[in-house]
Every structure is written in structure tokens, then in C-alpha cells.
């Protein structure tokens, strides 16, 4: 269990510096408004803020009361109001309402808006339109990288996915570039850069520009991280749409991990209280099971419980002195372990209960059939039944998308009938959801005949990056064909297995999906790292309909130690799943790499679907 790293595996850089930087900057901003003040925090920022500065730190810097920015206005009596928000127009309206109400009441206060991670011109414009631009002072808290774990940095920007991949809004790309720039200033330049996807390319170019403008700062530094890999989420939707079966992913799917911690309800804690638990490498029990296939976890935990009991039992034969020693030195550690063990055992039980109820085996079987491309008819009926029974709107949608992407779109008859069934079950407003899914290329209709394919492949060759912006929506949705089957064959994503796949001793990354499927995103990363280029992957790149990039700076590479050349930063634009993280951690152990993950947000299939769903206003 919990395979150790190879002895030559490189050490991870210390990312706690990022937290300190963010904290210092926030304190500086708060001090800019001297004296007592009330702080209004946007709900989305609360958890990230909590990881950076707790309430007592805020109080030290004269924050009096804390309010949540929500739809109803809060009543604050403070003379100074400070707003900590994401740069969203609806927040500007909220602030404007508050300030204008004060004006009406003839009240003057000081207002400060702190935008995180940056402010946008559109927001300032709204403040101006609402007539309060002169009344508030604006600042930026450039807090864009939150270290959730020793190897996981999150930008905590879930809206990146919808904004870019659905609405075509590129404003967050600059934020990504800034974050990369920050990393290279702190941890040295990256000698090797690879990427795939339009967003990856744009982020890379914008980031390069930033580096060039501040030339010289990183020039002399030794690189700490040898490779950076940028990846667009839309080049691999399949992986993100699959049910997760690795423990950490399964916990995320079942309980939702939020900003690195999870709320375990009474059914897990076996008390009447919920418990917020931080899930990271510091939780020794969790750290050993997080990357394991769920089928191994229960056995492991019960073995662990038996060992623990044995440790406790040692007390029996002890004399007083030994007992004293035991109490002062070991007991606390044992108790801590005991607590964690019972929590995770509780979580496992709860997961099992839920999964049996919804016939998880049947579901996984259908998913595997879709991935491998057999029994399509049967899978389609399964999905239909799912919808008819109103099992879960998000689950049904996810399966439809998985079917669409693996099959290069639904055949027209199924496309219509599944959508009709869905609307009847879950409500007509989802007509808009379908329109979104189509635009994002997640749920499409198969193009009739092969003639179009010929046109498309011509088009896709013509589509250089600059021109890509010019093709219309309709055209680009044509270009968004997934070609999953062909890619899967080329990259050997479905491992041929003789007999049972031993999930206890995984042999490849497919173990994160019970041995049925190697995550596409991770396979691409593996292949490019092996070749140190995209050579030989032209066909795959063409099928992905993406443009790739690779860049090696030899002068920098020469300066890099052999250890740093085995440290790889993977940037997921649009989110990554815990399954992908587990798969790459496995790859790292196999090949002596260490991966560091940077994602716009941790995601899973439900979050992807929710981002695309339209709910009634």
C-alpha cells in the first residue's frame, strides 16, 4: 500500500511561500484602511481566505465584523467597509446598492473594494455607471495560487471552465499567465515547456511576454522545476466525465471536497455532529489510501485498525515507568491515528451504502462499455432508463455526454429522443443546458455521412491559431469532434488484460478506472515526456483538433540539476480531477518523476455538468 517514492525522486519545492506572500499582501491591503472596519467577503472566497488568514489574523488588523456578500444587504454600523470579492459584475451591483443606500440616508463612510485575484475594467465601469466610482477605492489582491497540498496548487477559479470553454471569454488567461510568472520568479525558470490546446497556447504566449518584459530577473536563476506542461480541459472531457473509483476522487464525488477539506456528516462521524476535515498529505491515514482503488481501501483500513489495537494492547504488560512513557510519547499519536482511522472507515461505509443503493456496479459496467465502444444500444437504453426513473439529473446528463464524446456525437434519432426524455423528466429549462453542451462540444449530434469529415479535416488543417478565432460557432462545433475511438486506439487507452486486473498491484495508470481505461490527459503527458517533444504524436494531435506547443531552452536546461529535470509542473486549464492526479502520481513513482499540479480548480463530472446547466433564475 501507498507505494513509496523511488529513492532518487526529487524533493518538492516548498510552496508555503505562496501562502505567506498572499497573507502579507492581504495584511498590507487591510492596513491601507487604518482603523476598525467591517469586512464583506464573497462566499467563494471564504474557504480560500481561511487557508491564508484566519479570523484572529483579520482581527489583529482591525477587522471588526465579517459579513458574507449575498443577495440580501447586510446591516453594518462600521464607519469603514471593506469588500473582498471576485471581479464579478453582480458584486459591483451589490456594493453599489449599499453605497447608494448610504448616500440616500445622508451617510458618509469609507469603502474599499479588494478584487481577487485582479480587477477587471468592466467592473470599474459598472461602478462608474452606478455612480459610485468616486466613493470607493479599489485594490487588487493578487492571490491566484493556493497550495492545497504539497503537490497541488489551485487557482480556485471554477468559473474559468464555463467562461472560457462555453462563453469564449478569455479574461482569465491573463490571470493564469500572471500565476505562471509568479512561479517562475519564485522557483526559477522552466527549461522545458509543452502544451496542448488554444488556451494553453495563449496562456503560454502571454506568460512569455511577461517574462520578456521583466527580462533579467529570472535569467541567472537555476531552474527548480524542469518541465511545465499546459493542458486544455476540452481536449480530454472523457476522463473528467468518468465515475471516480480512487479513494480521493470517490470522496470528492460523494462528499465534495471543497478547497482541500470535506464536511463529513453524522453518517460518517457516527455522532450527531458534522466534522470539517482537512484532506492532505499531513493526514497520515488519508495519505496512504488517497491514491488507492476503492476496493483495496477497506481491507487496508481494517488491517490498520488491527495494528492499532495491537499497539494499544501493549499497555497490558507494562510497568508503571513504561506506562508513563507510553502515555507521554505514544498515546497522543495513537489517539490521533485512531480518530483519523475511524473517520475514514466511516466515510468508506457511507460510500458503500450510497453506491449499493444506486447500483454502482451496473453504472461502472455501462461506463466501461462506453469507453470500449461495445453494446452501444444497451448503454443507450440504460441511460434512457436512468432518465425515465429520474435517478439524478446530473448523472443522466453526464452519461449522455460520455456517450456523445466516445461515439463522436449521438446518432440523430438518439440525440432527439434522449433530449426529449430528459426535458420531460427534469424540466424544460434544460433546453438551454443542451444548447450549452452542444456549444462546448460535450453533447452533439453525429454529422451524417463521411463527406463532412473530409471537409472538416481540411478545415482543421487550415485552422491556425489566429484564424481559429474567426470561424463561427457553428463551424467550430463541427471542429470539436472528439475522435475518441481513434485516439483511444492510437494511444492504447484501453489496456488488453488477460484475466483479472490486479488493482492491488497496478501496472499502469488504468488502475484509477479499475483497469479499464488509461486517462487520456495523463497518457498524453506520459508520451510527450518520454519523447521530450510531440514527435510521432502528429496523428493524435490532429485527431484532437488542437494545436500543440513545445519549447526547450537549452541554456536553462544545462543549468538545471538532474533532479529538477524530473520535477514536472502540470497545468490544467479548466480543472483537473483527483483521478488524474492519482494517475500521474502513480506514473511519477514508476518513472522517478515528481509531478506538481496546478489547476484552475479541482473538478469532477458533477461540477462539469453543473457548470453547463442552466437553472431557473
Amino acid at each position: 500500500m501507498a507505494f513509496p517514492h523511488r529513492p532518487d525522486a526529487p524533493e518538492l519545492p516548498d510552496f508555503s511561500m505562496l501562502k505567506r506572500l498572499a497573507r502579507d499582501q492581504l495584511i498590507y491591503l487591510l492596513e491601507q484602511l487604518p482603523g476598525k472596519k467591517d469586512l464583506f467577503i464573497e462566499a467563494d472566497l471564504m474557504s480560500p481566505l481561511d487557508r491564508i488568514a484566519n479570523v484572529s489574523i483579520l482581527k489583529q488588523h482591525e477587522v471588526d465584523k465579517l459579513y458574507k456578500v449575498e443577495s440580501k444587504p447586510a446591516v453594518s454600523s462600521s464607519e469603514q467597509l471593506c469588500f473582498l470579492v471576485r471581479p464579478r459584475i453582480k458584486n459591483m451591483r451589490y456594493i453599489a446598492n449599499l453605497v447608494n443606500a448610504d448616500k440616500l440616508a445622508g451617510r458618509t463612510r469609507k469603502y474599499k473594494v479588494i478584487f481577487s485575484p485582479q480587477k477587471f475594467y468592466a467592473c470599474e465601469m459598472v461602478l462608474e455607471e452606478e455612480g459610485i466610482y468616486g466613493d470607493v477605492s479599489c485594490d487588487e489582491w493578487a492571490f491566484s495560487l493556493l497550495p492545497l497540498d504539497v503537490d497541488l496548487l489551485s487557482m480556485e477559479l471554477p468559473e474559468f471552465f464555463r467562461d472560457y470553454f462555453l462563453e469564449g471569454d478569455q479574461r482569465w488567461i491573463n490571470t493564469v499567465a500572471q500565476a505562471l510568472h509568479l512561479l517562475s520568479t519564485l522557483y526559477g525558470p522552466f527549461p522545458n515547456c509543452y502544451g496542448i490546446g488554444r488556451c494553453a497556447k495563449m496562456s503560454y504566449e502571454l506568460w512569455r511576454k511577461l517574462e520578456d518584459e521583466e527580462d533579467g530577473e529570472t535569467k541567472g536563476r537555476r531552474p527548480e522545476i524542469g518541465h511545465i506542461f499546459l493542458l486544455d480541459r476540452d481536449m480530454d472531457f472523457v476522463t473528467a466525465l468518468c465515475s471516480q473509483v480512487v479513494y480521493e476522487g470517490l470522496v470528492d464525488d460523494t462528499f465534495r471536497i471543497k478547497c482541500g477539506s470535506v464536511d463529513f456528516g453524522p453518517e460518517v462521524t457516527s455522532s450527531d455532529k458534522s466534522l470539517k476535515v482537512l484532506l492532505n498529505a499531513e493526514d497520515k491515514v488519508f495519505n496512504e489510501i488517497r491514491n488507492e482503488h476503492f476496493s483495496n481501501v477497506f481491507g487496508f483500513l481494517s488491517q490498520k485498525a488491527r495494528n492499532l489495537q495491537a499497539q494499544y494492547d501493549r499497555r497490558r504488560g507494562m510497568d508503571i515507568k513504561q506506562m508513563k512513557n507510553f502515555v507521554s510519547q505514544e498515546l497522543k499519536g495513537l489517539k490521533q491515528e485512531h480518530r483519523l482511522l475511524s473517520l475514514h472507515i466511516g466515510a468508506c461505509e457511507s460510500i458503500m451504502k450510497k453506491k449499493t443503493k444506486q447500483d454502482f456496479q451496473e453504472l461502472i459496467k455501462t461506463e466501461h462499455a462506453l469507453l470500449e465502444g461495445f453494446n452501444i444500444r444497451e448503454s443507450t437504453s440504460y441511460i434512457e432508463e436512468h432518465i425515465d426513473r429520474q435517478v439524478s439529473p446530473i448523472e443522466s446528463l453526464r452519461l449522455m455526454c460520455l456517450l456523445s464524446i466516445t461515439e463522436n456525437g449521438l446518432i440523430p434519432k438518439d440525440y432527439r429522443s434522449l433530449k426529449t426524455q430528459y426535458l420531460q423528466s427534469y424540466g424544460p429549462e434544460h433546453l438551454l443546458t443542451f444548447s450549452n453542451l452542444r456549444r462546448a462540444g460535450l453533447l452533439t449530434e453525429q454529422a451524417p455521412g463521411d463527406t463532412l469529415t473530409a471537409v472538416e479535416s481540411k478545415v482543421s488543417k487550415l485552422v491556425t491559431d489566429k484564424a481559429a478565432g474567426k470561424i463561427t460557432d457553428a463551424f467550430s462545433s463541427l471542429a470539436k469532434r472528439s475522435n475518441f475511438r481513434a485516439i483511444s486506439k492510437k494511444l492504447n487507452l484501453i489496456p488488453r488484460v488477460d484475466g483479472e486486473y490486479d488493482l492491488k498491484v497496478p501496472r499502469d495508470m488504468a488502475y484509477v478506472f479499475s483497469g479499464a481505461y488509461v486517462p487520456l490527459s495523463c497518457r498524453i503527458i506520459e508520451q510527450v515526456l518520454e519523447r521530450r517533444s510531440w514527435q510521432g504524436l502528429d496523428e493524435v494531435v490532429r485527431l484532437l483538433n488542437c494545436s500543440e506547443l513545445a519549447f526547450t531552452d537549452m541554456t536553462r536546461e544545462d543549468k538545471a540539476s538532474s533532479e529538477s529535470l524530473r520535477l514536472i509542473l502540470v497545468v490544467f486549464l479548466g480543472g483537473c480531477t483527483f483521478s488524474e492526479i492519482s494517475a500521474l502520481r502513480f506514473l511519477g513513482r514508476e518513472k522517478g518523476y515528481r509531478f506538481i499540479f496546478l489547476t484552475t480548480a479541482v473538478t469532477n463530472s458533477a461540477r462539469l455538468m453543473e457548470a453547463m446547466s442552466e437553472v431557473k433564475a
Binding site: I89, M202, E385, G427, A617
Partner: protein, 695 residues
Amino acid sequence: MDCYTANWNPLGDSAFYRKYELYSMDWDLKEELRDCLVAAAPYGGPIALLRNPWRKEKAASVRPVLEIYSASGMPLASLLWKSGPVVSLGWSAEEELLCVQEDGVVLVYGLHGDFRRHFSMGNEVLQNRVLDARIFHTEFGSGVAILTGAHRFTLSANVGDLKLRRMPEVPGLQSAPSCWTTLCQDRVAHILLAVGPDLYLLDHAACSSVTPPGLAPGVSSFLQMAVSFTYRHLALFTDTGYIWMGTTSLKEKLCEFNCNIRAPPKQMVWCSRPRSKERAVVVAWERRLMVVGDAPESIQYKQLTIQVLLDRLVLRRLYPLAIQICEYLRLPEVQGVSRILAHWACYKVQQKDVSDEDVARAINQKLGDTPGVSYSDIAARAYGCGRTELAIKLLEYEPRSGEQVPLLLKMKRSKLALSKAIESGDTDLVFTVLLHLKNELNRGDFFMTLRNQPMALSLYRQFCKYQELETLKDLYNQDDNHQELGSFHIRASYAAEERIEGRVAALQTAADAFYKAKNEFAAKATEDQMRLLRLQRRLEDELGGRFLDLSLHDTVTTLILGGHNKRAEQLARDFRIPDKRLWWLKLTALADLEDWEELEKFSKSKKSPIGYLPFVEICMKQHNKYEAKKYTSRVGPEQKVKALLLVGDVAQAADVAIEHRNEAELSLVLSHCTGATDGATADKIQRARAQAQKK
């Protein structure tokens, strides 16, 4: 061997002085300097002479001449003065010549006599005329102070950023002060003036009377005052021939001296050698010069930095010399050579006789990709000279596309600016240009421009979604994007409208749009939704309860749960609910009601399109094993094992599996053999397996 001390003369008991000519002036003055207004720039800068100022004895028709010389008297410019009478001349820190006219207008000229701009010191000055004026230097620029005919002061501390300040009145001031000067303390400009035996300090807010510490008694008027270049020291000359020297703050006296000359001096200035700690005042009369000094100064100043020196050379267009100095001093390119080349380029674009192509090429050849050179700055200069085309050519060399945008906007090349902004990847910049375009173009053209720029279009759409919904609709209309227009109206049907009629109308518009978009599916779905809404409204009226905004499925379920089976069936027919769904729906609803009798009747109404396993499942969900068992016999052979396991009949499940000779089924049953009584069943299965293998 020369005697070095030969030309030194004794001065008092312990000091000696000598006099020698540093260099001779090259100029050839036709008139005496006393008849001219003279202004010499600091740091050995140029000298300006305005000959023949408006002296009464000369005929008014003779135009005066403005001449500019270098510090060594080399002529730099000469021009006929065509404007109004000038009261005072002075050089700004940037070596611009400020000519203060009697009417308060200040004309600004360059080193080479080129007219730059003019500004006025305000209405009050215009009305009361300028009596006296001073140009002074502060750490943030050069200022102008004016004494008007009404004996009021107006000043601007920085002519680069003109903000006029009218100073408060001096109480009881009837005539011009005997002398005055500007001071600069704590970054604020003040005026010190002498009226009879009194000294007043004027700041923005107040006029206060001040007294220098240790001033000798018997003073009835101050004839001259002088402030040191750094504004730290002040010297006062009184009608008793007494000189007081101290700090400008008037808190400390440095020394005093009585020269016994009561005639007013022509000039009094502070002077000192560079790096010297000695500070001294030089007082000049018609035929006498006096040096009075003592003050030890602890702080040294090195005012003229290398950067300023380079600026001065650049201003004199001595580019090669400046570059040589940079190279000699090994200054970093950005601070040195690049900057000078950029200045050269800015000069180059002013050469009107050279074609745009040639200028652009020449500049690019010389500058190439030199770091620190901003092509957009040079282009801005070209545009300033009215050469828009040249400016655009120069902008092409600017590698940072974001930098090109502001100037392009200024030149009204907004569409080009938009492409450049998009290229830069800076969405804020794109947004700025968009707002420009929106104001500049009519709506149709604006939309057309957006249409060709999808990145900008997405950005603007996002903004409209939250802030300008109507514009969003217009955008889709313009593009004939009926699909999005349909979605727009559907959203509107949820957000804006409360009444059913309004919602249905919005949906109708949406359906029409979908037809236009040839999206028949969406159009039909929307029409179904309209029907459903109307019907739900009717159901609420007739039956009470909540129906509005339920899905079709939930509407039918609600009807069944409410016992309105007929209505439910009617609805299912009207909306063509497929049989399979209807069976699932009814089954679930009846089980929820625990109406087992009705359920059984329903199961027998015709052959179930979903089979009978669901019946077993749903009954078990309601924990009714008794009812569940009723249906196991009707479950088809393929699902029989599963059904039997569901109701907990492991033994029979085993029999069926054995009969089927199905290995998967056998292991499924085996995995259910957990109870104490299942031992026999497990054995049975193992035996069957063994038998199967034998065969």
C-alpha cells in the same frame, strides 16, 4: 618657473583672491545688456536675451528681438518678437524658455527658439496686469510667480501641470513690496515679501508676519533678498547696509555683516563652489562686488546627475556625443543608448522634408530591437507633428501590441486598435477599445466590427448578459443568430415575466426564433413547454396545489399522487409520454402511495414494457417483501435470479442459476450466501459448478 601666487591678491588679513577669465563670450552684442531682459538657465545652460523691451523712448513699431545663446555665447536662435510686452524671462528645468507677458500670458519656447505652447496665469492677472514675475525651480518642476498691479500674488508651482493658486492678500499693502522672492518648503511654494520694516510669508491659506532671529535693530526697509538654489538659505539686505544670513525657515541665523553701503545693490545671489561646504553671498553694485560668507553646510548636493547631463546634450541635438558618453560610462542600454536613440528618433520624425517611408526605415535601421526603445512613444511624437501615416508605420515596429493601442485610439484608428488589443491578449485593453468604438461608431457599424472579432464579441456579450440585456438581444438580431435569440427569450421567460401570459408570449417569440434557426427540435420543445405551462395554470385553478414549473414527469406524478388518475392519463396521451416512462412513473407513484391493490391492477392491465423486475425493486424499496414476491414469478428468465435475490430467496435463486447454467449468475448468488442458513445453498452451487466443469 612661474610664481603661482603672483596673481593672488590679499583680501583682509587671512584670505586671498584671484581673478581670471574662464572663457570669453563669442557673442557680438550690439546693445548693452542693461537694456535687455536676460535669463540664464541653471547648470551652464543657455542664455536668453530680449532686446529692446518696451522702453518708452523707442517707437512702438520697432519689434524687439529674442535671442538665445549657449553659455559661451554661441548663437542658437534669433527671432522677432511678435507678441505682447514681456515682463520677465526665465528657463524651466527642462530648458524651456518661459516669457511672461504683461497680460499674464506665458509663452514657452524650446532651446532652438521653437514655439512650444502658451498658457495664461488667469483672469485676475489679465485684469490687473503683471507688475513683476519670477520663474523658480522646485523638486517637481518649474514654477511661475506673478505680482499683479493690484499687489496680489498668483503662482503655479509646476508649469507642466498647471494649477493656479491665488495667494491671500497682505493686509494694508498699498504699494509694491520693496523686494520679494519665492521659497519652497515641505514641497509647498511660499512667497516672502518685505514691506517697510516688516517681512511677510504667504502660503496658500494665510499671510503671516515673520521676524528673522537676531536681526540687528534700526531696519526701516529691506532692499534685497536672495534665496539659495536649494531653498535652504536666505540673505536679506537692509537700508542700513546690513546683511543678515540664515536659514529659510527663519529659525536660525548663520551670520551677519555690515558693509556700510546703503545704496541698494543691483544683484545679490548665493554662490558656492561645487562640493564646497562654504556658502557665500555675492552682492553687486554698479562698480563693486562683495563676497560675504561663512555658513558651513553639512549636506552636499550633486544636483546635476548624469541623466540630466545626457538630457541636456540630447536637447542640444548632440546625439553622437551623448551616445559616446553612455558607452564610455557603460550605462545600461535602457538608461543610456536606447534612450538617446529614442530621442533622436523623436527628432527625426519632425523632419518634414523626408518621406514617411524613409523616416520609418531610418529609425528602424538604427533602433532595431534595442531594448527599452518604445516605438509607440516615437509614433506618438510623429502623430503630434501631424504625421499620422508615419505614426502607423512606426507602430508596426512596436513588439508589444498592447502599447500600440492608446495611440491608435487617439488617431481614431479604432478598428486597428481593436485587432492590436486582441493580439495583446489583454481583455481589459480590448474592453477599453470596445467602449471607444461604441461611442465612435453607430450601432450597426459597431456590431459589424464585433462580428468580425469573435474574441471581442464574447467579451462584450458576457458584459451585456449582466449589464445590458437589450444590447445582447440586438447583437443576436444583427447577426441573425436565431438560435441564441431563442435561448435569450427562453431566459427572459424565466427572469423577467411573472404572469403566465407574459411567459407564454416570451416562449412564443423563442419558438419562432428556433424555427428561423431551423432548430425544429427546440421549437417543438418550446411549444410543448407553452402548452404545459397553460395546462399547469389550469390545474392549479381547478385542483389547487402547485403545478407551475414542474417537469412533465412530475406533473403527472403529482396528479396520480393526488388521485387524479384520469387527468394523469389524459396528460400522458396529450404529451405522448412513452409507455416505458409512464410505467416507471405510475409504478413509483403507486408504491409511494402504498396503493398495492391499484399497483397490482396496473401490473395486470397489459404486458409491462419495462418488465417486472422494477416492480420487485420498487416494492422492496418500500420494504414490502410481501408485495414484491407477487411479482417475482412474472420476471423474465434473464432477470429472475436478480429478482429472487432482491426478495431474499437465495435458495430459489440458486436453483434458477443452476438451471440456467450461468456462471455469472452462480457467482452472484454465491456472493449473497452470507446468512447462517445459506450453507447448504452454497454447497449446492459449488457442486453444480464442479459438475459443469466435468462436462
